[in-house]
Subunit: 531 residues, 2 copies
């Protein structure tokens, strides 16, 4: 994306610029910059926002102080045509500034922000389907330029379209000493425990913005983690008072809210910030809800106390519960409990570290991914091999990413409204009744599968093709037979000839069954089969 | 229990009775009967309640019209000593009547009402542990006297201490025609669709009370199901308006609330009553919460829409989700989500009927029970063999009840605050760290188990005994070895000699591990081992 900046240093310039109307693509960022007063504490004493209007649409993003006497307001237009704005401030030089810009059609790869669609699913604002395949890169933004470039290059080849990352670095030895030493923090001050929580450090956020925009360029959503418990009593970023936290949230929203690829993750492992109760989190959710004009996705990632994802300001579930993807059937239950999209945002990592959360084999992590998606949910990857991907980024060395890529192609070629099938009785099937069925056998090693489908949507005589999927070796082999279904009883249809599908007796196999007499369904899976 | 009745036909008698003070045992029922006016509709136009006082304690149960001009108020005292009462009514003959009774110590088997204790557990009011092992007897109360006597005789021998039963019969052919024909309904009228919903039929409730009290005599809790969707457009009991439903709830509470063994199940399969929204159920929960002076347990049993059990008026989860007990690990997650006791109140039934919810083998139902309890949850039995136990009662013919009895003895001999162990990583263990461990292998058929316990609560040198439990054949065999633990890593302790426990390579096995150097733990399991 390009950033459009209007710098207004005086009313005179303003009128000039106003005549040569700026153009901003839909879901891109219009940025207004005003020269203001640097006196006092501009982070504390400045009320600054603007109303943007187009037809009946009205948005009121807050502005922010960006240092050097510059005040900015960012805005993401969501309709083509002329938008007019008028600033409001308690400071004369920032108040009552008006102007307009013209919103042009969205650029090719910008589908707008992601939101929840059809209760359990996600979609971009232009209705393009979005199916999250996340990865974890908590601290990648706080590494060297070289390392970050390497991370971005890796991501360009990886199957991931969402990154979970911290907005604020965790306390770590390497950030205080050694080559990875941090010099810029979100607040004015140094690591020597003398941060001035009343003053943000614009440079920190400017750098972070570049990283968020670099991911945006790769069409990767950013699940930006606002709070985290990882200070160990050192920097105090997890011990700030409510006033500071509120100000921090509004500042981050003012800076990042206009980026279409932003999601808000209120916290990582929130309950490890021990002094904050669920009622505190209710409050912070509501602050985000109130100040984000675009209502980006909002969730929170749990530690040992699961926040109530039913609460109205939570858009989707962002769960850390490893066992929920180790057995079948949990994700359908979670869908039914929460009636929201279920994202398993931490399911242990492929790795070989001493900590047991980073000891999965590639097979196991791939298995957990399949278990999530077969249950109508989503999962997030992580790697804790030598390079420490989840913390630092860099290169991926695991064996799961290519299998996740294989899974992603299968999922993206499936009907977008797939769901767990017959979910009170079946454990391992997802699909669309009468059209598409994906059965996954996980660690079971069946040598055959008696062709049988839940009755919903079926009629005698419907024809299906079957493909054997080896989820680990990444092969899809068609079975050379057309299956014609026949009602068995009130619950199931079987193959007319009572055929069984032969399976190789090894783990990690799946079966894909596609209706043959729906042209769109039969051809839908052709593309990725050839990969 | 005995029922104590004070019949006040005139103020004169009242003062006489008042001098010869009645005695009522703690958690038993004091019943005040007043002769009133029969004119008009006493169910609609009579406000009638009483305040009962003892020290600082005050309760205000509503009264009810019991037919024949008699108005009653029932009260369950929860403290010994003198209780005074004063009636309130909009009818002079029921208003301002005062009196007192003396509350004596509880009778031996009356431990008071059950409530939630320690977040995930239940206990009687006298702190006696209560671990639900329920069964389902939806319509037993609407059968012949002979059948009911048979059901009670069966229950006397059965392992069940909770019965789920309907307060109102479902529409069924047998209740309209044939020998099972019902003649008494909750409302005045007959099955010919002319019920007067403004008038209760006291006889119906008097009969139901006898059944509830018969179960009380067997120390069985009654999970009384207030609404149900099973009318198929016939009687209309599931289509009553809010005013009628509210009146019905208050009438049932007035009649049954003073019985210590009552639980309120707002509905069975609530979402099948299609016109009632979750907001409607919120309302009905709040009516029960408002009018029940004793705050008996409250939950609701779902169909295809799971009510939000996090809501504050829900005391425990009463779930129908079969797959949640088919795999390990779900109950611990449900505990963490809801932070309330988890009762799997419908997990399919042992049976051989055409409906697939009644087709479980005894092995499968036993397995599901174990899966529930190993996850720190509770389960409810049902049988759909020839006799139709879940509907009609009678005899039990299944193979699961005696296994459930075996399980119950094991559970009751375990530490009462057991919990799922290491629940983010382990799937199949419940117990108390450092003291007691129960591992269940379900359908897995291991031939050995490498002795390994989660590290919490352990120190090098602690000694344990191991018993092999065959959950199907109901045997408990001690392993002739003392296991001494030694730290393996940050997560586990293993046997010093790296011993493995030999298993018979068949399904449904469990291992019980008990600390030897805690005298109370070592002896705790002796009793039931000999059974």
């Amino acid at each position: 994306m390009k950033r459009y900046t209007v710098l207004l240093v005086a009313a005179f310039f303003f009128s000039v610029f106003s005549n040569a109307q700026e153009k901003v693509a839909k879901w891109d960022v219009f940025e207004l910059t005003l020269k203001g007063n640097e006196q006092g504490n501009p982070f504390i004493n400045t009320a600054f926002s603007a109303v943007f209007r187009h037809g009946n649409k009205e948005f009121q993003p807050e502005g922010f102080y960006d240092g050097n006497g510059l005040y900015k307001i960012r805005f993401m237009p969501n309709e083509e045509g002329e938008w007019k704005y008028l600033t409001k401030s308690n400071k004369a030089e920032l108040n009552n500034k008006s102007g307009s810009f013209y919103c042009t059609p969205a650029e090719r790869e910008n589908h707008g922000p992601v939101s929840v669609q059809n209760k359990y699913y996600f979609a971009f604002a232009d209705s393009t389907n979005y199916i999250p395949f996340g990865t974890t890169l908590y601290e990648w933004a706080f590494q060297s330029a070289e390392k970050k470039a390497q991370t971005l290059a890796t991501l360009q080849q990886a199957p991931f379209n969402k990154v979970r990352m911290l907005a604020v670095p965790p306390y770590h030895k390497r950030y205080v000493e050694g080559p990875g030493k941090l010099t810029v923090f979100p607040f004015v001050g140094t690591e020597k425990e003398n941060f001035d929580f009343s003053r943000f450090n614009p440079l920190f956020f400017q750098q972070l913005e570049k990283d968020v925009l670099a991911l945006q360029k790769l069409n990767i959503e950013v699940d930006l983690i606002l709070f985290r418990p990882y200070d160990g009593g050192k920097w105090g970023f997890d011990q700030m008072d409510r006033e500071t936290n509120d100000r921090f949230l509004r500042y981050v929203i003012a800076r990042f809210g206009a980026y279409h690829n932003i999601w808000w993750s209120l916290s990582n492992e929130n309950s490890f910030i021990k002094h904050l109760t669920d009622e505190d989190w209710d409050h912070y959710f509501q602050v985000v809800q109130q100040y984000d004009p675009y209502q980006h996705l909002r969730s929170i990632h749990n530690a040992d106390r699961i926040y109530d994802y039913k609460k109205p300001w939570v858009t989707h579930v962002s769960l850390q519960y490893y066992n929920a993807v180790r057995v079948f059937g949990v994700s359908p239950l979670l869908r039914d409990i929460y009636q929201k999209p279920i994202v398993h945002d931490e399911i242990n990592y492929e790795g070989n570290i001493e900590k047991r959360w980073g000891q999965l084999t590639g097979e196991e992590l791939t298995y957990r991914f399949w278990t999530a998606y077969i249950g109508g949910a989503y999962a997030t990857h992580g790697e804790a091999l030598e390079e420490g991907w989840i913390s630092l980024g860099g290169k991926l060395n695991g064996t799961s990413p290519q299998r996740i890529s294989f899974l992603r192609k299968i999922v993206e070629s499936a009907p977008k409204d797939w769901l767990p099938l017959d979910q009170y009785y079946l454990l391992n099937a997802v699909g669309k009744y009468g059209a598409y069925y994906l059965y996954y056998f996980g660690k079971e090693t069946p040598s055959e599968w008696a062709f049988s489908l839940p009755d919903e949507g079926l009629k005698d005589g419907m024809k299906f093709k079957v493909e054997l999927i080896d989820t680990w070796n990444m092969t899809i082999k068609p079975v050379d037979k057309v299956y014609e279904v026949q009602k068995l009883n009130n619950y199931a249809f079987i193959d007319k000839q009572k055929s069984k599908v032969k399976l190789p007796g090894k783990p990690y196999m799946a079966i894909r069954i596609t209706r043959l007499d729906i042209p769109t369904m039969a051809s839908r899976t052709e593309g990725e089969k050839k990969n």
